[in-house]
């Protein structure tokens, strides 16, 4: 049976050439890069090379890159570390309602530490209004964090516009670029931000390898105390193989960004156009066609009258791996906070389904999804009391 992996937002596969690049650092170059003897040279040089590769991907200087263990760590570090380093100035932080939990829950922790947090709303497409950010600012605001793009609905935010507002008001601006770095062009100067999170596991690198870019001169409170690794800002012996993998992933992404983007966009646009044409009562979540402010490989929908997990299971049986934001698929059994913040009803949000394409996918994969998805939906609708009610009364459709 055909196997189609369409869950690249969860994680991308590790490219074989990246794995190959990492292997020596799991073997003969095992040494601690902090060591002064000869053994430390190769891992240290490889790490600094990776730092430059990551810096080049986002138009930064290599001394501004701090390696972390994940995108989640980068976000925790940015939110807690930047706010705590500025608490003498004020204790107010602004984040959007659709941030990743590593940002939202870090903001919650700040509340426990005496900060106040304002959640900026989004519109029906998941877009943050820069004016809403402006209105949320107070004299004691020390940090704004708005994600570059959302991995559940694919919406790309107007970061440069928001950065103009934070700069005018002398407030630090962090962006979670985990969904964008290595996928679309990311340039820290063009974006105008002060800090940016990224992770290798989203662009064909290994898991356990993230980075926080921090503009030169910006102070941050470390989360991990210990040695002076990463300029004393992130203690702990570095995971050199993972860092080498991140660097290689950054180099490969920088070299093929346009190719990847065009390829993914053409596949995405077919899903966005053809799935709702083939199945009645399907809505696109996020930005619909022409989908400029949308991640290139990202097609997300809500299918009315049925629930996401059962859809996911039927597709899984057909060899298609997807994700859903329904309550049943989350361990917390809550519907996606992103879809609810966008104003979708719980009923509709339960029917969430998310296809995230990768560089291994092709048009035959899309054909296959378009072939197996309609009968799966039909089958679940035949079982659904909501669909029965709709066909009886014509009511309940959205």
């Amino acid at each position: 049976m055909r196997q189609v992996y369409l869950d690249n937002a969860a994680t991308t596969p590790l490219l074989p050439e990246i794995a190959d690049e990492m292997m020596p650092y799991l073997g003969k170059y095992f040494a601690n890069p902090s060591c002064l003897h000869d053994w430390g040279d190769a891992p240290r040089e490889a790490m600094e090379n990776a730092r430059l590769q990551v810096a080049n991907l986002i138009g930064a200087r290599s001394e501004e890159i701090i390696f972390t263990g994940s995108g989640t760590e980068s976000n925790n570090f940015a939110i807690k570390g930047l706010a705590m380093a500025r608490q003498a100035k004020g204790k107010h932080v602004v984040v959007s309602a659709i941030e990743h939990f590593s940002v939202l829950h870090s903001a919650k922790t700040l509340e426990k530490w005496g900060f106040e947090v304002t959640l900026v709303p989004v519109d029906g497409q998941g877009l943050v209004d820069p004016d809403a950010v402006r209105q949320s600012l107070r004299p004691d605001t020390v940090l704004v964090s708005i994600m570059h793009a959302n991995s559940e609905v694919g919406t790309i935010q107007p970061i440069a516009e928001i950065a103009r507002i934070t700069r005018e008001n002398n407030v630090l601006f962090h962006t979670d670029a985990v969904a964008t770095a290595g996928t679309i062009p990311v340039d820290v100067t063009g974006l105008g931000v002060d800090a940016l999170s990224l992770a290798a596991s989203q662009f064909y690198g290994p898991k356990g390898a993230g980075a926080l870019w921090l503009k030169k001169g910006v102070r941050i409170m470390p989360l991990l105390d210990g040695g002076v690794q990463e300029g004393g800002r992130r203690a702990g012996t570095e995971d050199v193989p993972a860092i080498v993998g991140l660097g290689k992933a950054a180099q490969l992404a920088a070299g093929s960004l346009t190719d990847r983007l065009n390829r993914l966009t053409s596949l995405r646009d077919r899903l966005l156009a053809e799935l709702p044409a083939k199945i009645e009562h399907v809505i696109v979540t996020g930005v619909a066609l022409p989908a400029q402010h949308r991640l290139p490989g990202h097609a997300s929908f809500c299918v009315e009258f049925i629930e996401g997990e059962s859809m996911l299971m039927l597709l899984n049986i057909q060899g298609v791996a997807v994700a859903s934001g329904s309550a049943c698929t989350s361990r917390a059994l809550k519907a996606s906070h992103v879809l609810i913040a966008m104003g979708l009803s719980h009923e509709l949000a339960q029917g969430s389904i998310l296809f995230t394409l990768g560089i291994d996918n092709n048009h035959e994969d899309v054909d296959y999804v378009l072939e197996v998805m309609p009968p799966a939906v039909d089958r679940l609708r035949q079982m659904s009391p909501l669909y029965a009610k709709f066909t009886r009364t014509g009511k309940g459709g959205g």
């Binding site: 009258f305 049925i306 629930e307 997990e309 059962s310 299971m313 899984n316 049986i317 329904s326 309550a327 049943c328 698929t329 361990r331 059994l333 519907a335 009803s345 719980h346 009923e347 339960q350 035949q382 079982m383 659904s384 009391p385 909501l386 029965a388």
Partner: protein
């Protein structure tokens, strides 16, 4: 999907007794869209026995498997016997349910009970009219 037992997968893939009953003797509804699972059970009663049980379910794989097996466990039972079908029995019959799904998706026994209540109430009303 190893979070579910083979039995759950089997009932999810081949659910028994899906549908509605025309002019049912009782209907029972449970759940709401916030929790993510909704079930409607329809029953036909003859000589105090469940002659037929059908269901429609909106929900996850567990919810569909639960509905299917409850319908199977209920058909042919007396009303009192059917009352004894509990969420725990349903989970056992399915060779276990994931912990976090036990409460939210395991609503089949409750829906069946509601349908029996509905039947008895209707009967009482009819009795009063006679």
């Amino acid at each position: 999907m190893p979070i579910y037992s083979e039995k759950v997968m089997e009932h999810f893939m081949h659910p028994r007794n899906v549908g509605e009953i025309e002019n049912p003797d009782g209907v029972g509804n449970v759940g709401n869209p916030v929790c993510g699972d909704m079930m409607s059970f329809y029953i036909k009663v003859k000589d105090n026995r469940l002659e037929d049980v059908k269901f429609k379910t909106f929900g996850c794989g567990a919810a569909i498997a639960v509905s299917s097996i409850v319908s199977e466990m209920a058909i042919g039972r007396t009303l009192d016997e059917a009352r004894n079908i509990t969420a725990q029995l349903v989970a056992d019959e399915l060779e276990g349910l994931p912990k976090n799904k036990f409460h939210c998706s395991n609503l089949g026994a409750e829906a069946l009970n509601n349908a029996i209540d509905d039947y008895l109430e209707k009967k009482k009303k009819q009795g009063g009219e006679e």
